[in-house]
């Protein structure tokens, strides 16, 4: 495809946001839609083509990332770093896992049997107890507040790992509560997260009932002919982008089935369970199988200032079986070798149990879980002290995690994006990957 000159923006990537185009489908042909796209271009573009060096260093080749975001801040003590029998440990016990010597909370019996396929980082020290800041830091890998808006991990993965010509959104958020729209920042709206609210297909991707298939076909044909006629005389990057946005929208409409989890077998739906998180995990499997480079599934909520233990029984009771089933399925289907999985929150929870049986916000010593793609499996990185109040070994933060995830899917996290005449380091240049976690 020819990409012609535009004095403001040379890149279609910046002017074509799948989300904006999808949202614009309801107003097909509207001049406002065109103006909106152009406006983005004028404001942000300037030639996003990643440097040749980046392209060469991206070995993604179909690699994918799945983030399970436990909103509100899951308790590390009730999940990945139990401290039973201590003053901070709470009432739950630790159980052995499929990795000899590694224990997790008894609230995760199914996940425990998958731990040989996953690794735990028990030494996150992010020094933050604010929800919004934690969410941004964990998904952008940058300290906040920052002088610049940094792209969400999903945008970076979509930008670096989506195969050429990939016609589905590269960055999808399956939102079951919790926020997080997945900003693409300077990478442009094409890489912004497409939200599947409560697991429903992206908005406006179904043909309205009032519009017959034949009428729709004829309308598209008319638009196409008019576009061709116009392009024959006054073709620009903007008109190309405009045309491509329709083509992509049509592609998306034709692939709407990808977002329909009810097409999975009844047996699989039963295995994942009837509740929301189970459906969303099965949907994540479906999206990953269709090659979507980045999928985030939110599970809400873990912000348990009150009755932490009751709520962790309930929430992790929902999480445990579907998540373990998903890991098992990714393995059996050969996807885990190319899919990096990360279970994260915005922070952990206080070791101290408050007077309402709750735990409060805590970013000083907590845990995340990673696995798949180019990561070690069955490893435990870092260590907290006996009652979990401090990191004793290998402190890391969101910056190190961001590098590690990207390296795990073959991206040189020390590389840069070249956007609008500026080099933007892909990840925080002051940090680096957790090397011992990489294969």
């Amino acid at each position: 495809m020819t990409r012609t000159t535009n004095p403001a923006c040379r890149s279609l990537e910046h002017v074509v946001s799948r989300r904006s185009l999808v949202h614009g489908i309801g107003a097909l042909g509207g001049a406002a839609g065109m103006a909106g796209i152009t406006g983005h271009g004028l404001g942000l573009c300037g030639g996003l083509a990643a440097s040749a060096a980046i392209a060469e260093t991206v070995r993604a080749g179909g690699k994918r990332v799945l983030v399970i975001f436990l909103h509100g801040g899951v308790s590390q003590l009730e999940s990945w770093d139990p401290k039973p029998g201590t003053d901070t440990g709470g009432p739950f016990r630790a159980i052995p896992t499929s990795v000899p010597g590694v224990h997790v909370s008894e609230l995760l019996p199914h996940t425990a049997r998958q731990m040989h396929r996953l690794s735990i980082i028990r030494s996150l020290d992010t020094r933050n107890g604010d929800h919004g800041r934690g969410q941004r830091e964990m998904t952008s890998g940058r300290d906040q507040p920052a002088p610049l808006d940094y792209p969400h991990l999903g945008a970076v993965v979509a930008r670096t790992s989506a195969p050429a010509g990939f016609s589905l959104p590269g960055h999808i958020l399956v939102r079951g509560g919790g926020g997080g729209a997945g900003t693409s920042a300077y990478l442009g709206p094409r890489y912004a997260g497409v939200v599947m609210e409560d697991g429903q297909p992206p908005a406006h991707t179904a043909r309205p009932d009032a519009l017959s298939a034949e009428a729709d076909r004829r309308r598209s044909l008319l638009r196409s002919r008019m576009n061709d006629r116009f392009a024959g005389r006054r073709r620009t990057a903007d008109t190309d982008a405009y045309t491509q946005s329709y083509d992509q929208a049509l592609d998306l409409l034709e692939q709407r089935h990808v977002f329909d989890v009810s097409r999975e077998s009844q047996r699989d739906q039963d295995r994942y369970g009837p509740h929301e998180f189970g459906r969303h995990c099965l949907l994540a499997r479906r999206l990953l199988e269709h090659g979507v480079p980045f999928v985030q599934v939110n599970h809400s909520n873990y912000d348990t200032h009150h009755e932490n233990f009751d709520f962790h029984i309930e929430q992790l009771g929902e999480f445990d079986r579907p998540f373990a089933t998903l890991i098992d399925d990714l393995t059996v289907r050969g996807l885990l070798d190319d899919t990096l999985v990360c279970v994260m929150s915005e922070f952990g929870r206080t070791p101290r149990i408050n007077d309402r049986y709750g735990r409060d916000h805590w970013g000083t010593a907590w845990s995340v879980v990673l696995g798949g793609a180019g990561l070690q499996r069955g490893a435990v990185i870092g260590r907290t002290n006996a009652n979990g109040t401090a990191v004793e070994d290998r402190p890391v933060d969101h910056g190190h995690l961001f590098h590690t995830i990207l390296r795990g899917v073959g991206v040189d996290s020390h590389g840069t994006f070249h956007v609008a005449g500026r080099d933007h380091p892909i990840a925080d240049p002051a940090k680096g990957p957790i090397d011992e976690l990489l294969t």
Binding site: G72, P84, G85, T86, D87, G89, P91, F92, R93, G176, G177, E276, S300, N301, D303, T304, H305, H306, E307, F309, D310, F311, I313, E314, Q315, I353, D355, R356, G358, A386, N387
Partner: protein, 344 residues
Amino acid sequence: MSEPPAIDPTKIREVLAHKHGRPLVSCCWDPRDRFICFGAENSAAEGYDDLLFRLALASAGTPAAVVPCTGGHDSWAWSLAIAPDGATLISGGYDGRLCWYDLAAAAPRAARSLAAHDGWVRCVRISPDGRWAASCGNDRLVRVWNVADGSEVSRLSGHESHVYHVAWRPDGSALVSCDLKGVVKEWDAAGGACRRDLATAAPLWTYDKQFRADIGGARAMAFRADGAQLALGGMTKVTNAFAGVGQPLVVVLDWTGGEPRLVEAKNSGNGVTWGVAWHPAGFWIGLAGGGGGGWLRFFKPDATDDFHAFKLPANGRCMALSPDATRVAVGMADGSLRVYALHA
């Protein structure tokens, strides 16, 4: 023999403050008035022999003596019951176990420990005649045990969510249970059949749509002495489950039916009713604890509001009435067990 004191909750005063150090989670008063037993959160030292204690009630001028009850749970002892003859303490824990102790032993050690529920044992209560113990838990079951030998008498299934509490009718004729959703069932304890669902205590349950979680259940349950009313304690009007923003509530059900009566703690702020007891002088006692602090509340059987409320120095988590009904013990989140006289 001296006259019993005139009960007047408005004259409530502290008569004992035992500083245990770790937050308390459960307490129970010996029917023979020798001990108060209590469960607590773990201490800093790793181990499980510091979770359950027996405090000997001292005579005047003698310091209270505390000994641990060992060899039982490897998690918090969440619920305690002592047989009417004072011989046996039974504890139920987060570890799903029930443990039996000889309460009079110099150093009580679990004589029997059995796996009672898959998951947390939320409540254990001994029948008025001392023969049976009923327990309930997160496996949605109520189970009845022979106190003498620990054998199972019956297994009562029918609840569809975690079972939070059980209570025996004072004449022993019935066993009742309440689950997370506020469903209250009456059981034939021996035969295992559900006789009926009582009027629902649904105001105790909320599904928080923002946080996508259930909050509810009876955190406390007690019959009036004549068995004519059943009181259930919990939380209502929840606007933020995870921050505990809601009102402490007692739901009073008439045994013969009719609409539940709701007794809200209008002046004690956010929290949960963690304890409820019938006082033979003719009033209910409720223990509220949460964001609004700890409160003892007193209300009449036909009222919808307190006639008196007493602010506690810390959040109360558990409550027990003395056998002579002159005192009430409160286990607190600040690590203290405090006893209050209900008279001048």
